[in-house]
Amino acid sequence: MYKVVRRRSLKPTVTQIEVEAPLVARKAKPGQFIILRVDEEGERIPLTVAGTNPDEGTVMVIFQVVGATTEKLNRKMEGDYLQDFVGPLGNPTETEGIKKVCIVGGGVGCAIAWPVAQEFHRIGAEVTSIIGFRSQDLVILEDEFDACSDRLIVMTDDGSYKREGNVTVPLRELLEAGEKFDMIITIGPLIMMKFVTLTAKDFNAPITVSMSPIMVDGTGMCGCCRLTLHTEDGDVTKFACVDGPDFNGYEVDFDEAIARGRTYFDYERKQHDHVCNLIKQADELKANA
């Protein structure tokens, strides 16, 4: 069992927790992920490592409540335990030789982008961060990004906070103005990463995308997280869990990844409602007791 030692609510549906997992804390690097199970009957879900404290033996993850499992996870308070917590999985983000980087994060993907930005900042690279959210009430980690970025641009789709528009707008402006990045790294919803990639393509700028497909084991056994890369040598099948999660954006078949990501959409929505009802019933029972 793995103890939740700290918990912070970033937004009503976005939560940061630190979990006691000394072996993982010792090894995890930015870009890697863990898999956890909330309880004995739980599913395995991958979450990206948002930070580590090796001395304390803790690993930080940030998650958005989107389904049954994250709903249950959100109910775990400081001192509670998670059933399983395994990692670090996947490969760390490649930082070698990169002196000037642009990090483009969207929504809760910013939680994944943040440690990557920190790492580039730590190694002395010039960091431009563009972070985008649907609206003001979903903005997270702004101060944290500010602390590790040479330049920070915050966007909201509806203009309720800072600049209005999506993240491709300022990226295009920067590239049009002649900015040259050694690497653009984008992390967020698939549709956003697809358009960030298309924007970069107009300028022939190198781009890395961080993929987070559905996984089961996460260790290279089940093949659920496979994606197709269109490479010079033809189409190849890669596994996000052991070959990724970072890939060359130009090669990723985003449309396929988007379709595969929707496989259990209906089931998950039903399951979420089911779990919410159970929680509500339990709360009512407690209130009446």
């Binding site: 089940c222 596994f239 379709a259």
Partner: protein, 470 residues
């Protein structure tokens, strides 16, 4: 007394009933049946059956104890060479191993050795009081990577010799393919858990949620004071056919399909957290035991119709005879000499937001005929031009094998692998690195539970010899 020419039949659930539940298919012998079957053993001097067993169970001796009614003694004889009697009694392909060499089998049906082994193991497991005690420690520490059949066997053999053994398992439940791969109806998970508990009674530690090559490297394991490491990390990444449509929603690797159902309990009706597609029509591609398991799982998940699509004929089909027989009885539709060429997807031309877009609607196959023998000695299947046809299905499960997981190779300097990615070992299981041994699917690619156990056993003997002479 005349010898009964036939094996005593294994009582099983009715095919019509069992096709819709996940309870165990074969029900096991009653005591009287076991005694009667044991009486068929000739107890011949040369014991050909023992040579057919990869872990050399002393077969005539344990059967002799059954005849005497001393089932615990029979169990102890099996357990002295096999760490997983209740598992082997269920999933070993006895017909090509011990039973194939049975003297009685020359004239009649061979002795039902596997069925007797299962009877003895289940009898023992029903006796609460009969727990093993850890043997005297010899002060040496050995680490095992992976808790599948190879790792459990290696761990058991070493623990019995007094080694302090730790098993590192990547998943949250120990058992490897015995829990994520082989379905409940063929090998109940409670039986696997029981066998793992038996090892813990011998003093074996099991550390779940540790991925070797990620959480720890093999070199770090040595730094922790372990003197030898056995790698039994299993088969690894699933192979795909590289045909169009393979990434459509509803195309599964057998590993994913079975893991969702077995390990993650997606088969249950009470709102499991892990989803799986249920119902509809399902095509399973492949002809091995894994393909049979996937097809029979699909049926139990409520599929209206399940096909096995295999490119060779029944003669080359590699699955265990009993599994094929069971699958046929349950109504699995075998489409032999058929090879898939494309998975067909649904796309609504008028509505790009149709939720069914990108799902499977069929499997296009081509008919095959058998040509000259190929490198494997089996006749090579050759496509018959222009014979394509479509099977109307909603899901496709691909069970055509796996390739070794690269995590350990990539993080262990000096560990030699062959061109398929399998770890290279000598006949004693030693790899190219001193103190590192390997066995099972990580070495051979996908094979059987019992061959993995045999490899675990060989490696345990080598590790013992290495550490005693060090």
């Amino acid at each position: 007394m005349a010898i009964d020419p036939k094996k005593h039949e294994m009582p099983s659930q009715d095919p019509q009933v069992r096709a819709h539940n996940f309870n165990e298919v074969a029900l096991g012998y009653e005591e009287a049946t076991a005694l009667a079957e044991a009486a068929r053993c000739l107890n011949c001097k040369n014991q050909p059956c023992v040579a057919g067993c990869p872990v050399n169970v002393h077969i005539p001796e344990f059967i002799a104890k059954i005849k005497e009614g001393d089932f615990e003694a029979a169990y102890q004889i099996i357990a002295s060479t096999s760490s997983l009697p209740a598992v082997c009694g269920r999933v070993c392909p006895q017909e090509t191993q011990c039973e194939q060499l049975c003297t009685l089998g020359k004239k009649f049906e061979p002795v039902g050795i596997g069925r007797l082994e299962r009877f003895v193991a289940d009898w023992h497991n029903d006796q609460e009081a009969l727990k093993a005690n850890p043997p005297q420690s010899n002060g040496h520490k050995v680490a095992i990577v992976g808790s599948g059949p190879a790792g459990l066997t290696c761990a058991g053999d070493l623990a019995r010799k007094g080694y302090k053994v730790t098993i590192f398992e990547a998943l949250h439940t120990p058992g490897g393919v015995l829990v994520y791969g082989i379905p409940e109806f063929r090998l109940p998970k409670a039986i696997v858990a029981r066998e793992v508990e038996g090892l813990k009674d011998l003093g074996v530690d099991v550390e779940t949620n540790v991925v070797i090559g990620k959480t720890l490297t093999i070199d770090e394991i040595f730094d922790m004071g372990y003197e030898a490491v056995f790698v039994g990390s299993g088969a690894g990444l699933p192979s795909f056919m590289h045909i169009p449509g393979e990434s459509l929603r509803g195309v599964y690797s057998a590993n994913e399909y079975l893991t969702r159902s077995n390990l993650m309990k997606a088969f249950r009706d009470d709102n499991p957290d892990t989803p799986i597609m249920k119902g509809g029509k399902v095509a399973v591609v492949g002809g091995g035991n894994v393909a049979m398991d996937a097809a029979r799982t699909a049926l139990r998940l409520g599929a209206e119709h399940v096909y096995i699509v295999y490119r060779r004929s029944m003669e080359e089909l590699p699955a265990r005879a009993e599994e094929v027989e069971h699958a046929k009885e349950e109504g699995i539709d075998f489409r032999l000499l058929n090879n898939p060429v494309e998975v067909l997807g649904y796309q609504n031309p008028d509505d790009p937001r149709d939720p069914k877009n990108g799902t499977v609607r069929g499997l296009r196959c081509i008919k095959m005929e058998l040509g000259e023998p190929d490198a494997s000695g089996r006749r090579r299947p050759v496509p018959i031009e222009g014979s394509e046809f479509d099977l109307d299905v909603d899901a496709v499960v691909i069970a055509i094998g796996t390739s070794p997981n690269p995590l350990i190779k990539n993080t262990t300097e000096g560990l030699e692998v062959n061109k398929k990615g399998g770890i290279v070992v000598d006949e004693g299981g030693l790899t190219s690195r001193e103190g590192i041994y390997a066995g099972g699917d990580a070495v051979t690619g996908a094979a059987t539970v019992i061959s993995a156990m045999g490899a675990g056993k060989v490696a345990a003997a080598s590790i013992d010899e290495y550490l005693q002479n060090k």
